[in-house]
Amino acid sequence: MTEFLSVNGVSRRFRGLVAVDKVSFSVNQGEIFAVIGPNGAGKTTLFNMIAGVAPPDEGTISFRGARTDGMSADAVCRLGIGRTFQIVRPFPTLSVEDNVLVGALLHRTDMSAARRHARDVLAKLDLFDKRTVAAAALTLPDRKRLEVARALATDPKLLLLDEVMAGLVPTEIDRMVEILRSINREMSVTILLIEHVMRAVMALAGRVLVLHHGTKIAQGTPEEVVRDPTVIKSYLGAEVAF
């Protein structure tokens, strides 16, 4: 059986700085896999390499048997990897629905079918009532939801979520956890997420990878990882509440 997503020894350097240093891991089909680590650990850089934004300086990435390192971002998306941006990038003057429609049109040529799909996705993300509003008018939590909706509309097999909980209040986090779980289970979308909110990581992830200064310092179930002495020392510290 070929692996779903496998990342083998990837590195990325920015001038002198090694942002990601020989990181390897693999994600199984159907699971929710989390990447955690302190600010500047290299999480987004790792994501960008998987999403085809920038090729790794070394190492390889393959998705369902096909090498994807060196592919362009749009080609990676067409293969079935959807991604959100940590710093949200909505299409500001387009309506919320049209934002999602752009994603829905990736694998649909019929406009009314695409609209229907976009509305279904909007309903899933609790954005249906705001569908006629311009994206620029949304609040940050809604923009985060829009990021997820837009990526989900492309019918991904793997969804890369970069800190979609940041800026949400606890009740909103719980709701997002619920939504992501249903996307994972009911729509059978594999999820790879970067998250600082440990409450969400503990609730969602089957496995967790911890990144620190660009290197992988631990991997395991959430329970294993939070008890790991190196993780506690370098990242979680004493003050993290669960």
Partner: protein, 333 residues
């Protein structure tokens, strides 16, 4: 088509219907002069629409669209003058060659990441080089210009665009109508939404699987090809072509004013813009003559001031403002 009609509310439908009927009946009521002004308006609706697709929808600023008008006009005129090939046939190579110019500009710009203002400079450079080039092509008359002869026995050959004001008026009407229809259809199609996404945020568009280079190339090909048809019309309407005039940057600017004033990225913006600006230009000419002001550039100054006032008052264009005022937009998509 039915979807387009369905997207309009009753009030908008009635207004559009009245406008179409009035334009169709205009030759019955208007004299030669007014009909020529209306022809000019409809011509600017058409070429403005072509430019609007590229800038208003795909977000790529071209300041060299006179290039496509000129190339289209010259190709069809040369084929007619030298080989007797009529414009209905000549329009095909005219489109192809203008689109080839568009493809060259697009390829250079989009492949090598020449964006925004720099892309605009590239489009100006191409138009200028072509202007200088045409000055030195004896086949098309060089700097001395290319003339389509006035042949008495050919008058009435409407299929060769040898006819009077009525012929050209209805042809301009057809062009404008087709231009509006193409924009309306594309803006509701998959390609239109890909363009909007690229205009708004290229990185995000790419992340949604859009091949940005391809979509932009389609925009420049469609826009340049459409503009070339306007050039063919222009050539046979005026019967003379001069490189210094037709490829002039002022022609490129003139062509983009209607969509800007009317509202770029909208279907009816270029229509409203052309109906506001062209008569305004005519009024200014008449006014300066009447006042006896004979200073060079006085019309340009007036024109510029008026533009500044309009753009300051309604920055997103006159059409979105009218549409809101008259309640012509359906809120429910």
């Amino acid at each position: 088509m039915t979807a387009l009609w369905g997207a309009m509310n009753t009030r908008a439908r009635i207004l559009l219907g009245v406008l179409v009927v009035m334009l169709l009946a205009a030759p019955l009521a208007l004299d030669r002069y007014f009909l020529s002004v209306l022809t000019l308006i409809l011509y600017f609706v058409y070429v403005g629409q072509a430019w609007n697709l590229m800038m208003g929808y795909a977000g790529q600023l071209s300041l060299g669209h006179a290039l496509y008008v000129g190339v289209g006009g010259y190709v069809a005129a040369a084929l007619w003058v030298h080989y007797g090939i009529g414009p209905w046939l000549g329009v095909v190579p005219a489109i192809a060659i203008a689109a080839a110019f568009g493809a060259a500009i697009g390829w250079l710009g989009f492949r090598f990441g020449i964006e925004g203002v720099y892309f605009a400079l590239l489009t100006i450079a191409f138009a200028e080089f072509t202007r200088i080039g045409f000055d030195h092509i004896p086949f098309v008359g060089g700097a001395g210009g290319l003339f389509i002869p006035y042949e008495q026995d050919r008058i009435g050959e409407w299929w060769n665009l040898r006819g009077g004001q009525h012929l050209f008026y209805y042809l301009a009407f057809l062009l404008a109508a087709v231009g509006v229809l193409i924009t309306a259809l594309l803006s509701r199609a998959r390609l239109g939404f890909q363009w909007l996404a690229i205009r708004e945020d290229e990185t995000a568009a790419r992340a949604l699987g859009i091949d940005v280079f391809r979509a932009k190339m389609k925009a420049v090909l469609i826009s340049s090809g459409m503009t070339a048809v306007g050039g063919v019309f222009y050539a046979f309407y005026n019967n003379s072509l001069f490189p210094t005039q037709i490829f002039n940057i002022s022609r490129s600017i003139e062509l983009i004013l209607a969509p800007i004033v009317g509202g770029i990225g909208t279907v009816f913006g270029p229509v409203v813009g052309a109906f506001v600006l062209t008569p305004l230009g005519e009024v200014l000419i008449a006014l300066t003559e009447w006042l006896g002001i004979d200073l060079p550039g006085v019309k340009a100054v007036f024109y510029g001031l008026t533009l500044m006032i309009i753009i300051t008052l309604v920055p997103t264009g006159v059409w979105p403002w009218i549409a809101r005022r008259l309640d012509l937009v359906k809120n429910e998509p």
